[in-house]
């Protein structure tokens, strides 16, 4: 099975007033058709930047290198015009703040039909008809009326659904969801996530779900990639990540999730904070915060090693026993 998306050695650097910032450092990732892949990590670990760089959605101060193979072409060398044919059509995005991600001066209907008319050349009436269907698919009640409403008239959850409708309007092969539920109420979160999974089942669409919330991941994701300071440091099927993760950072993340029924006096946390990288790492960037760090961690940079079938981790002293 050839992968739908095959990213190899993706690196992203930003030029800023205080020197270079290495946001993404040699990340490789594959997504198969119809897979839901979770991209997990703390804020600032580069997960959003990595996905946005695939379609050249970053500001001009970004330098992107590597390869990203999608449907036989390398996205990273495509011209802006060629990429515009991919965006919204083959690969779609949804973002974290649904209320502000929609233009407040246009109706929902205008914004959804816009993408269909641009990519599929539909007439206004045809696009409108389809838009109603789409709103039904994303489970918005009274879709015809909602079409002529403005974003501020919709709740956060409905806005996100409308965004999803916009994203799937042209039946993309891949949907990249960047923290889609973070700004929503917990009850709505589950609904939106279920919707994403159902859409994957119905449309055969692959999803990259970016989040810092492991609870979200456990729900619907097939496979998990953990990122830290711009590098991918562990990857495994979702069950294994929770059951038997190897990288100390992953264990730290999982331990930090509060569980019902366990009375604790203090929440567990990983001491320290994510560093800002100014160039490719020459050692393990997690070492200063790692309880298992040793001399070789500061001398050399660990690469991803397959520790089991389908389970890789970048660590010189990984945990071996299950959690």
């Amino acid at each position: 099975m050839s992968a739908l998306l095959d990213v190899r050695g993706l690196s992203v650097q930003f030029a800023s007033s205080h020197g270079r910032v290495q946001a993404v450092d040699d990340v490789s990732l594959t997504v198969g058709a119809g897979e839901i892949v979770g991209l997990v990590g703390e804020s600032g670990c580069g997960k959003s930047v990595a996905t946005m760089s695939l379609l050249r959605l970053l500001p001009p101060t970004a330098t992107v290198s590597g390869e990203a193979w999608f449907e036989g072409t390398n996205l990273l060398v495509q011209s802006p015009r060629q990429l515009r044919a991919v965006r919204g059509r083959k690969v779609s995005f949804i973002f974290q703040e649904p209320m502000s991600s929609l233009n407040p001066l246009f109706t929902i209907g205008e914004q959804i039909t816009e993408v269909m008319r641009k990519h599929l050349g539909l007439s206004r009436r045809e696009a409108r008809r389809r838009a109603v269907n789409l709103l039904e698919t994303v489970r918005i009640a009274d879709p015809a009326r909602r079409l002529s409403e403005y974003p501020h008239q919709l709740s956060g959850g409905m806005c996100q659904r409308a965004m999803i409708a916009m994203a799937i309007a042209c039946q993309p092969k891949l949907l990249i969801a960047d923290e889609p539920t973070t700004a929503l109420d917990v009850t709505i979160q589950t609904e939106v996530l279920d919707l994403l999974r159902d859409l994957r089942d119905e449309l055969g669409m692959a999803v990259i779900l970016i989040t810092h919330n492991l609870g979200v991941v456990a729900d619907i994701v097939d496979r998990v990639c953990v990122m830290y300071a711009g590098r991918k440091i562990e990857e495994a099927p979702v069950g294994e990540i929770f059951r038997a993760s190897h990288h100390p950072y992953t264990r730290g993340l999982i331990a930090a999730v509060p569980r019902l029924g366990n009375r604790v006096d203090r929440l567990e946390e990983i001491p320290g904070h994510v560093p800002v990288m100014h160039g490719p790492a020459s050692m393990c960037s997690f070492a200063p915060r790692c309880p298992r760090a040793a001399d070789d961690c500061v001398e050399y940079r660990p690469e991803l090693e397959p520790l089991e079938r389908n389970h890789t981790a970048a660590c010189f002293h990984p945990y071996q026993a299950p959690v």
Binding site: H18, G19, Q22, A229, G272, P275, V276, M277, H278, G279, P280, A281, S282, M283, S285, A287, P288, A293, V298
Partner: protein, 291 residues
């Protein structure tokens, strides 16, 4: 293992004093600062510098071109243009600085009170500002002149009043922000008397913003004064002002264009320098732009 051990992960250092001072040496600031300083000096020392009295007429040398006796020539009444330009700086200076001072004197307390105490008073003040913000100083000056007769004092007063709403808005905005800062909240919570909080915590932080605003209000007042004097609502003859020199020179625009160009050049140089200085100061002093 400290954070700095990680290759390339050091956080950029705080800009030191010397970095900020170096910033001040940039050519833009030097040039504009010099012009502003020169303007202030010239205005202050006018009687000592000017070769002639500004109102000394000489009907034998009317509209004379530049010469050894009159470096910039004479106007339609034989008065030395250079001297009039030098003395004209005084009117601009006076109007500029005085109007700004008046505006600050009223705007800072009002803005402080509004921004710090909030509530109904603040809401009323805010609405007032919105309404008065676009009110032109010219109409005020016209009104004052109509009632009390035209004079430089009235013009300065009008300009000062017109500048108040803008400054109140800035002062109020900054106070609102400062009020939410932790150190102010700490002071409030520890029952420090309000006037002490305002004096020791809020005001000094307000100062840098106010300096920038003042530097930008002065040129507006200078332009305003020249406009009012041009219309006859500012200085009264024979006191020279760059604006009144222009209105006197308009009939001679074809025969003696330098009478038009020189005062305009003076106004432009001074105003532009103040504006550039203000912008540069804002960049240098704005804490958010540091780092």
């Amino acid at each position: 293992m400290s954070a700095t051990d990680i290759a390339g992960s050091t956080i950029a250092p705080e800009p030191t004093r010397s970095r900020r001072l170096a910033f001040l040496r940039r050519p833009v600031i030097l040039a504009s600062g010099t012009v502003v300083a020169a303007f202030i000096v010239v205005a202050a020392l006018a009687p000592a510098i000017a070769p002639y009295s500004p109102s000394a007429t000489d009907f034998t040398a009317v509209l004379a071109p530049p010469s050894g006796r009159h470096l910039l020539g004479t106007d339609d009444l034989g008065r030395d243009v250079l001297s009039r330009l030098i003395y004209g700086a005084r009117a601009s200076q006076e109007a500029g600085v005085l109007a700004t001072a008046i505006a600050l004197a009223v705007a800072v307390p009002v803005g402080l009170v509004a921004g710090f105490f909030r509530g109904r008073l603040d809401a009323t003040i805010a609405r007032l500002i919105d309404v008065m913000l676009a009110f032109p100083s010219l109409v005020l000056a016209v009104a004052l002149s109509a009632i009390f007769g035209p004079s430089l004092t009235n013009a300065t007063l009008a300009l000062g009043i017109a500048a108040i709403p803008g400054l109140v808005r800035v002062a109020r905005g900054e106070t609102l922000v400062l009020r939410e800062q932790t150190f102010v909240k700490a002071a409030i919570v520890s029952a420090t008397p309000t006037h002490t909080i305002l004096r020791r915590h809020v005001l000094p932080n307000l100062a840098s913003t106010l300096i920038v605003q003042a530097t930008v209000t002065i040129p507006t007042a200078i332009i305003g004064e020249s406009m009012l004097s041009f219309l006859g609502l500012g200085v009264q003859a024979p006191t020279p002002s760059w604006g009144s020199m222009l209105s006197a020179a308009e009939p001679y625009i074809a025969s003696a264009p330098r009478l038009i160009l020189l005062p305009i050049a003076a106004i432009f140089a001074v105003t532009l320098s103040y504006n550039l200085l203000g912008d540069a100061l804002r960049d240098a002093l704005d804490p958010r732009l540091r780092l």
